[in-house]
């Protein structure tokens, strides 16, 4: 049991990403996020790397699929599974040596999914104050959940401001539409009011 644990920590140390790797792979994750933004999706992008090879990539595609669980990480994990099947590799063994690079802290759902697939390390840009599952709302990454895969390690902060800026841009795009609609509704109500007044006046006169 002790040696098994020891082997795991050794393994974790051996491929915990260095700054250079983080910079290199995060660059691609940010491109994925930008693609999401251009397609009207929440700008989050990610990359899954196994032995210096990209085995999965994803960006948020919730609106496109009408499925609110299609976060970047879930899309990328599907690709990892396909890649394993295609290359005839054991899923668990591969995932145990795969690092996730993602622009925003994984949400509670994605953190649990990453645990279930035994991903050991996650490098992320900015915190996710709304849904974060690696400490911002709940800490699923290190919680005591013996039936939910294995806990994972987080390395955070790379290009965090840029990731936040992208999220802000997205939510700013959403708001003006709402305002426009409100203005239109107000106009319609005012118009209807005068119309009714006119009808009343006409009927009585």
């Amino acid at each position: 049991m002790g040696t098994e644990e020891g082997r795991k920590t050794d393994l974790l140390e051996s491929f915990c990403p260095n700054d250079e790797e983080i910079e290199k792979w995060m660059c691609c994750a940010f491109e994925m996020a930008r693609d999401a933004l251009e397609n009207g999706e929440v700008p989050v992008g990610c990359l899954m790397v196994y032995e210096d090879e990209v085995v999965g990539r994803g960006r948020n595609e919730v609106n496109e699929t009408k499925n609110a669980t299609r976060h970047a990480e879930m899309v990328a994990l599907d690709q990892v599974l396909d890649w394993c099947r295609h290359n005839n590799l054991d899923v668990r063994h591969t995932c145990e040596q795969t690092v996730l690079y993602v622009t925003v802290e994984p949400c509670i759902m994605c953190a649990a999914a990453l645990r279930l697939l035994n991903i050991p390390v996650v490098a992320y840009g900015c915190r996710n104050e709304r849904f974060g599952g690696c400490g911002s709302v709940l800490d699923i990454s290190s919680a005591d959940l013996p039936h939910t895969g294995t806990a994972f390690k987080c390395v955070s902060g790379h290009r965090a401001e840029e990731a936040v800026e992208m999220l802000k841009t997205f939510y700013k795009q959403e708001n003006p539409n709402g305002k426009k609609n409100n203005r239109f509704l107000l106009f319609r109500h005012v118009w209807q009011f005068f119309f009714h007044l006119f009808v009343l006046f006409y009927e009585n006169g």
């Binding site: 699929t65 499925n67 609110a68 999914a113 279930l116 599952g133 709302v137 959940l145 939910t148």
Partner: protein
């Protein structure tokens, strides 16, 4: 073979064989938190209203508005005991001299002592009853919660419908078991029309993240013209065609109910938050469950969507299914 016959018998049972209990938030279900406070007996009963007025000015009991200032001691009605006691202030707020010298101001007040009073307003009747045993407390009762805690929220007609939906989830779970997957089934329902929108079961054998709830969420997406997967090869994973449901449908799962045989895990529970589910009903609790056991994600502070959860629907057959799963593992 034995568990199977048991299950048949149980799922054929009537809706009176189970009770749906609400899974309340952490704040609603926690034990009453207490805080130390100074109280003093009222020696001269005629001074009560004056003493209360003086104390209200000196110590307004900020943050303890839910506790009553004066209590009557019912237990020590005998001669010599003082029948009334008044709350002075929280121990943490007390200055070195509790009552500043004021001549006649404190006439009629006895020697202060320490009591424990409820730190927060009670949210449920059980909390109110526990709090009142410490010190009289006011309670703005949510009648719906009280009725739900008694297990009497649903009419027999509603229970019959719930029974039917969970029975469908059980059938799907049974199909999953026969396929060698985990025996978990789920059903998404439009409660207004009392219609099934999607039925699904665990497909972990094909994809480790295809838990019954995740399958159902994608099937709902497909019923709305979206979706990411194809479950057509599983006859017990199906969705109502868009024509069956009057268009336009809701946004993702808004207003829909989910029936699932086993308490969802963290991933599935959060997927239900993202999907804006209306209510969740489950049969059996699970060890790492996120809707009551390990977390209460449906009432988690800071999340932008909350929903009601009820446990215990067809609990008997759902627990039998789960027991079968554990037997296999062993």
């Amino acid at each position: 073979m034995e568990p199977r016959s048991k299950r048949r018998k149980a799922s054929a049972a009537d809706p009176d064989s189970w009770i749906a209990y609400p899974v309340l938030s952490a704040e609603q279900s926690q034990d009453v938190e207490l805080v130390d406070a100074f109280a003093a007996p009222i020696v001269d009963r005629k001074e009560t209203s004056r003493l209360v007025r003086e104390l209200n000015v000196l110590y307004p009991l900020n943050g303890l508005q839910h506790v009553k200032r004066v209590r009557a001691r019912k237990d020590e009605g005998g001669a010599g005991a003082h029948p009334l006691e008044v709350l002075v202030c929280r121990v943490s707020d007390a200055p070195s001299t509790l009552l500043p010298p004021g001549g006649a101001k404190w006439v009629g007040l006895g020697e202060p002592f320490v009591v424990q009073v409820p730190a927060r307003p009670p949210l449920t009747r059980p909390q109110f009853e526990a709090a009142s045993r410490r010190w009289p407390t006011s309670f703005h009762e949510d009648k719906r919660v009280t009725v739900a805690l008694r297990g009497e929220l649903f009419s027999s007609r509603q229970k019959a419908a719930m029974h039917r939906f969970m029975a469908s989830a059980l059938t799907a779970a049974e199909a999953a078991r026969q396929l060698g997957m985990e025996a978990v089934g789920a059903v998404v329902v439009d409660p207004e029309k009392e219609r099934i929108v999607a039925v699904g079961h665990d497909c972990r054998g094909e994809h480790p993240l295809h838990h019954a709830v995740m399958v159902c969420i994608d099937l709902v997406a497909r019923s709305q013209g979206g979706g990411s997967y194809c479950f057509d090869r599983f006859p017990n994973c199906r969705f109502a065609s868009p024509n069956d449901l009057s268009a336009p449908g809701p946004y993702i799962c808004t207003g829909y109910d989910l029936y699932v045989t086993r308490e969802p895990c963290v991933m599935c529970a959060m997927a239900l938050v993202h999907s804006r589910i209306g209510r969740v009903f489950y049969g059996a609790a699970s060890a790492d469950g996120a809707l009551g056991t390990k977390f209460k994600i449906h009432s988690q502070k800071d999340l932008n969507h909350r929903f009601e959860v009820f446990r215990g629907v067809l609990s008997g057959p759902c627990e039998v299914l789960d027991g079968f799963r554990k037997e296999i593992k062993e």
